[in-house]
């Protein structure tokens, strides 16, 4: 393994060694003369041996596939990104909370507007989201490749994406919360999708002054019941739980021996209310005064039981909520002290320990699940918080602490009890051993790392080969593209004895937070829809969808229904003649069956663009309120005669 030599001589020697490696590889491949070229190309481009090695490890030639797929939150874009690993090629941006015209998401297609409308809050259309934490569905604490969940922090919502067609199927809103952050995380068999709040607010959605913070403001956690057969969250069987007005942070679900429990970090146990202009300490200081904060330990199985019992829940804003008092009385909720303003809580692959990163503490603190269980049984409490929640004795549940460096945030796992923790302040990744609780090495990253994502890194069996450092700042890593810089995803090889940085991927569409990496062959994505006239909303063939040979225009009063098909290179019909004021409904089926034969459908000046993938049917509805002539055309370059794939909407005065 070649490492970064400090001097020029060392670098050149390393280059020689690396190229030797490359040469011998090429010689084996039998490419005549290729070796000499590689070495001169590397020299001409100023590439070191390490660079060449990294290039060889990440390059995926045309026609070859990546080994892994990374599902990354798209941050303020409100979307999800799918990225191949190790190539770090962006494969797709999935429209979730924000219209995504390329996918016909929220730009006319009725079914997509219905999903987006599910996400309306307070009577408002929300046209963006702040996606944070994607969660792949799990079976037996392992990714099963079926669904992806993601939260919108800004407007507390959760979306469900079906991984067969990679389209958003459902958005649920959580009116109790003011921003969510502790989600989404799934329980080991995706029984529930966990969503934790962030900033405390009055749960009833009413006004309460900050003087009433302790009495009226609350945090919450919602357990969204997932109905796998329907591929939807079942809101009626979901429930929430009231939490003290601390600010909840990240969550994780227990697995193996800790299955049935959920863990949610908190900060601002100080219950600071800010007010820097009112002479109060700003949040950044007020919420950081205590040396210890409190981790929520929640028995979700018992909570799910209690939530069905009469008289044990209250209804707030139409939601079933277990009050804090009930949670305490039923033994559903406990606290564990945790060092200073923690961020991530991560359950180890075997489910026996919890790793907490204290943002303002240089340690990761590791708790033993067996000790936590014992402390709960023995009622080994060091006290209660202001709301009567029992606090487990810190020393009784502690497994150990490892000093890693400044600003630990998130931990992911490799194989053989190796853990990787991001160090935000140090801009580094710390590799440490869960076995002997020792730091092994640190690798600088560029810069200000937030989350880490390891290949299958939070399942029961991490693969231990790739790690991605999701860096918030890129500063000087990329060509300047204006003051707004892209984020930097750095791919790290963790398969060898040392961590090696392999690739920098600029993310230019938002600030991703967390990502999950799944073995590509676990995902059985469709290459075309499995039937002609397929409705992605119901995930079944719509018998009423337009079919080849049955295209027609039907008029009933001022309702005009157009049954249209799209196939290379024509729409049928090509003329739609209506009167001003008519309600026009266009049903279109892409009757293609060939892979990649997608057609678009845009209507001039009507804010309509559909993406009709092979077999897909969609409906667009509008009032022809202006007389005139409006061309419609295919917006996906489908064929040699793509430009001819057009028609006229004629609106008579």
């Amino acid at each position: 393994m070649i490492h970064h030599g400090s001097g020029r001589g060392a670098r050149l020697a390393a280059l020689g060694a690396g190229l030797g490696l490359a040469l011998s590889g090429l010689a084996c491949g039998g490419t005549a003369g290729g070796g000499a070229d590689v070495s001169s190309i590397a020299q001409a481009r100023g590439l070191s041996a390490t660079d060449v090695e990294a290039a060889v490890k990440t390059y995926v030639p045309t026609g070859k596939m990546d080994d892994y797929l990374m599902f990354a939150s798209g941050g303020q874009s409100g979307q999800v990104e799918i990225i191949g690993i190790p190539s770090m090629r962006l494969l797709k941006v999935v429209g979730v909370f924000t219209p995504e015209p390329w996918q016909g998401w929220g730009t006319g297609a009725e079914e997509t507007h219905q999903v987006l409308a599910e996400g309306r809050m307070e009577g408002r259309d929300l046209t963006w989201g702040d996606t944070h934490h994607p969660a792949l569905s799990e079976t037996d604490a392992d990714y099963d490749g079926q669904y992806l969940f993601i939260n919108d922090k800004a407007n507390p919502r959760v979306a469900v994406i079906d991984l067969r067609d990679m389209e958003t199927k459902q958005i649920v809103t959580d009116p109790l919360m003011g921003a969510n952050h502790g989600g989404t995380f799934v329980t080991p068999n995706t029984e529930y999708v966990i969503e934790g709040s962030q900033y405390a607010v009055p749960l009833d959605g009413q006004y309460a002054s900050l003087d009433q913070y302790r009495e009226r403001y609350r945090g919450a956690v919602t357990f969204w019941k997932f109905d796998r057969d329907r591929g939807r969250i079942d809101q009626a069987r979901s429930f929430s739980m009231e939490l003290p007005p601390y600010w909840q942070d990240l969550s994780d679900a227990g697995k193996g021996p800790s299955a049935g429990w959920a863990f949610i970090n908190t900060f601002n146990t100080e219950m600071a209310t800010g007010g820097d202009m009112e002479g109060q300490p700003p949040f950044e200081a007020g919420a950081s005064a205590n040396d210890m904060d409190l981790m929520n330990v929640i028995d979700w199985r018992k909570a799910a039981q209690v939530a069905t019992e009469p008289g044990k829940t209250v209804t707030i804003q139409g939601r079933r909520v277990i009050p804090l008092k009930t949670a305490v009385a039923e033994g559903i909720l406990y606290f564990i002290p945790e060092p200073k303003s923690p961020h991530g809580v991560d359950v180890t692959p075997d489910g026996t320990r919890l790793v907490v990163s204290g943002k303002l503490d240089p340690h990761v603190t590791v708790y033993s699940w067996a000790k936590i269980q014992k402390a709960i049984q023995d009622q080994d409490f060091s006290g209660k918080d202001a709301y009567g929640v029992p606090i487990l004795n810190f020393d009784s549940v502690l497994d150990g602490q490892v000093e890693l460096g400044l600003g630990p945030l998130h931990t992911q796992f490799g194989s053989n009890d190796i853990a990787y923790t991001s160090l935000f302040i140090e801009s580094a990744v710390a590799k440490w051993s869960l076995k002997d609780m020792k730091l092994i090495e640190k690798l600088p990253v560029h810069y200000n790392v937030g989350h880490l994502a390891a290949a299958e890194g939070d399942t029961k069996s991490p693969d231990g080969n790739y790690l991605v450092s999701l860096n918030k700042w890129s500063i000087d890593r990329f060509q300047p593209v204006g003051p707004l810089h892209p984020q930097n995803f750095q791919l790290i090889d963790i398969g060898g004895p040392h961590m090696d940085r392999l690739y920098d991927m600029p993310i230019g569409i938002g600030e991703p937070h967390y990502a999950q990496i799944i073995k590509a062959d676990k995902i059985k994505a469709w290459t075309t829809y499995p039937g002609v006239g397929f409705d992605p909303g119901t995930m079944s063939v719509d018998s009423a969808a337009p079919q080849a040979g049955k295209e027609r225009i039907e008029r009933k009063g001022n309702e005009v229904d157009v049954y249209m098909t799209a196939i290379r290179s024509h729409f049928t019909p090509e003329h739609i003649v209506v009167n001003r004021g008519d309600h026009v409904v266009i049903h279109i089926t892409n009757i293609e069956q060939a892979r990649d034969a997608t057609h678009g459908f845009a209507i001039d000046k009507h804010n309509v663009n559909l993406s009709l993938e092979p077999g897909e049917t969609q409906t667009v509805r509008f009032v022809a309120d202006r007389a005139g002539v409006f061309p419609y055309y295919c917006t996906e370059f489908c064929s040699a005669l793509h430009l001819e794939m057009a028609g006229y909407l004629l609106v008579r005065p």
């Binding site: 026609g63 290379r568 290179s569 060939a594």
Partner: protein, 199 residues
């Protein structure tokens, strides 16, 4: 010579020949369900190629895509219902199966011979028929089609270049088993003839 031929045809078929006839019958039956011919189109944007499988009773595979491409040059769509052949060819194959099974059962060479001649005539007629269809499809192009192409005749065996497509036409498994069944005819004839002479 005639004094030899008559008893030759009158004699019982030997056990090995009868076993072979059973094998022929067994081989013919799947030909009803196996694809008999296949036409593959290769072009840059179709990495796996497009394949049309012709069965005794229908046509399957990437028919829709091929029709979609063909409409650009004004070629008539391939539709199973346009081919009357699909209604009777399965029964012809079943007839050859019956001849072979009967020949094995009654052990009479004339039965096998009549079935064999019937089979050969059928094979020849079908190949001519197939080539006629190809001629028809390649020559009768709609003059109003978006792309004007010189009329052409795809080969029933081998490769034809049409635009960016290499169109390859080749026997499929159904034809292979029928060919093997066909080879059994001369084998039995020669074997039985030699046996007679030796007797």
């Amino acid at each position: 010579m005639t004094d030899r031929i008559t008893p030759f045809f009158q004699s019982q078929m030997s056990l090995p020949s009868r076993i072979l006839m059973v094998a022929v019958a067994a081989a013919l039956l799947p030909a009803v369900f196996l694809p008999i011919w296949k036409i593959t189109l290769h072009a840059p944007q179709y990495p796996g190629g497009l394949t049309v499988h012709i069965y005794s009773h229908t046509v399957r595979g990437d028919v829709q895509e091929v029709n979609e491409l063909n409409h650009y040059i004004g070629m008539k769509a391939i539709r199973a219902e346009d081919f009357g052949e699909f209604r009777f060819v399965p029964f012809f194959i079943l007839r050859f199966f019956a001849f072979a099974a009967l020949a094995a059962l009654v052990a009479r060479l004339p039965v096998a011979a009549i079935g064999y001649i019937d089979f050969m005539i059928f094979g020849a007629v079908m190949l001519v028929d197939f080539q006629t269809w190809l001629y028809d499809y390649g020559r009768r192009l709609d003059p109003k089609a978006p792309i004007h192409l010189e009329p052409f005749t795809p080969k029933f065996l081998g490769t034809t270049q049409v635009g960016q497509f290499h169109v390859t036409s080749f026997p499929d498994w159904g034809a292979v088993v029928m060919l093997l069944a066909g080879l059994a005819g001369p084998v039995i004839l020669v074997y039985e003839w030699r046996r007679q002479r030796a007797a």
